[in-house]
Symmetry: C2
Subunit: 298 residues, 2 copies
């Protein structure tokens, strides 16, 4: 069974779609690597690219993409709503099949070393690949963005893990490893945004809740509801069902019903199986019992 | 994307394991067909074989298996606890991927016609392939077993769909098409078997419950509980979560807790996704959002 790693680079170009195509083409060129998705946002002036494959292929595709983006994107003229610090702004490796997080961390380091050495781009290792606790969080790594980093990179606190302590037009890049992230939103049958905000504060790790949950209260009052919008950054450690049950309990306290939820984008199979097994009260259930898994061996 | 059909023949041999091997070998010989599992039970004197593949390969493997079993198994000397009427007793085709139930029914008819004509074995089409309502249920088709059928096959009601109206040493065979079957057991925190029996009566189709549920009350008093043991014969029509919620409601009436459940053997992915989506209150969720499904395209 082949090892499979997913890679989701974000590049700082979402308007010149011909440039995006040329960068994405670098991924297409690598045999065995599958381009799963890419989409561009003009307001953010940013594109998200998703591809996967065996470690060697993914590493090669990642390297080519970073090289091409550095060639075609000039941060000195880049403007967009989304915070960014580099042409390829962030590149996470995600273990999908038969790969450990440690292997993804190794891949991040291998890539980072080469990017620093051959492209002269400063590299910060982040999340599970972080070399310092304060670099785990991407927002902290990107603080000050491209413009601010030009100066601050010269300080010891901002010294990159690889590459020079100075910034060229391609900016700096965050390379890391992380579990698959799930965008999970839960809707409440009220238009009182304060309730959603209070529950979001209760559930997110940054204000005392679950360590693997990021959450915001979102106003959907035109649809007659409010939303707790979550990024579940590790659904093995903090499962979807636990987040939902927490929100149900809190909502009850306010006398407000949970009217529904949604998953935006992709979700790992195991997160769904865990939810099914929990609520069906299954004991001793294994993913190997899934017919398709047995037949297709994914 | 290749069409995939699963086939789960039951043969009337569970003691002479060399004979079982020779029969299973016929499946192994067919290129492209994957043998997923086989297991023998000596008390039942019966083996269950599971294989899958594209329709043509599965048809060929099924034909070979039936031919070999007819050659090596003599029903006149067969004894075992499990009801049976033929060397290959039953052979269901199950749609797994990109295949309709109608295609599985066609496959059953194609195979049945050949078995009747070339092997001179009486064939009954059952479940979704049944030509008469009273032949849908396998237990009805097998009534009287091999010994009883020797005489009754001459009556118009028991006239086979293909092959002669007389029985040789290979007996008769039921060939059919059906959805994947899930063995789903729910345990109650009581030793009162009557409660499990009453709930089983309430949930099974044959006594007024859900049309796709077969259920029995089972005594597990040594483990301090009783069980509602179910065969869910169509988890799209009657989902696992609906069965569990029904049992929870009934158990509450008796003041008894549901302490757990189990799935024995395989379960289709969709049945688990349906349960997760139901309990997570997901709106608009699609199986295409499962990361592995997207990557491996099963």
């Amino acid at each position: 069974m082949a090892k499979i790693i997913e890679c989701i680079p974000n590049i700082s170009e979402g308007r010149r779609l011909d440039v995006v195509e040329r960068i994405v083409d670098e991924v297409r060129k690598v045999p065995g690597v599958v381009l799963l998705d890419y989409s561009s946002n003009a307001d953010h002036n940013r594109s998200v690219i998703t591809f996967c494959g065996e470690p060697e292929g993914v590493l090669e595709a990642a390297w080519r993409l970073i090289s091409k983006a550095a060639e075609l994107i000039d941060l000195d003229v880049h403007q967009g709503e989304h915070p960014r610090m580099g042409a390829t702004d962030v590149m996470p490796f995600v273990p999908v099949r038969d790969v450990s997080m440690e292997e993804c961390v190794e891949l991040a380091k291998q890539l980072g070393e080469r990017v620093g050495r051959e492209l002269n781009i400063p590299v910060y290792l982040y999340e599970k690949a972080a070399t310092r606790p304060e670099r785990r969080n991407l927002a902290d790594v990107r603080r000050g963005q491209y413009e601010g980093l030009k100066e601050s990179i010269k300080t010891p606190e901002r010294s990159p893990d690889y590459g020079p302590s100075e910034i060229g037009k391609a900016g700096a890049i965050a390379i890391g490893a992380r579990p698959p992230l799930v965008a999970f939103n839960v809707n409440l049958g009220t238009t009182n945004l304060e309730i959603a905000k209070a529950i979001a504060r209760g559930i997110r790790g940054s204000s005392g809740g679950f360590v693997n949950v990021k959450a915001l209260g979102v106003d959907l009052s035109e649809q007659g509801m409010v939303q707790i919008s979550m990024n579940m950054v590790d659904t093995q450690g903090t499962p979807l069902y636990r987040a939902l049950e927490f929100i149900k309990t809190e909502a009850k306290h306010y006398g407000v019903p949970v009217v529904g939820s949604e998953i935006v984008g992709l979700v790992p199979l195991q997160a769904m199986l865990d939810a099914a097994a929990y609520y069906l009260k299954l004991h001793g259930f294994s993913g190997e019992q899934v017919l398709e898994k047995r037949i297709f061996g994914f």
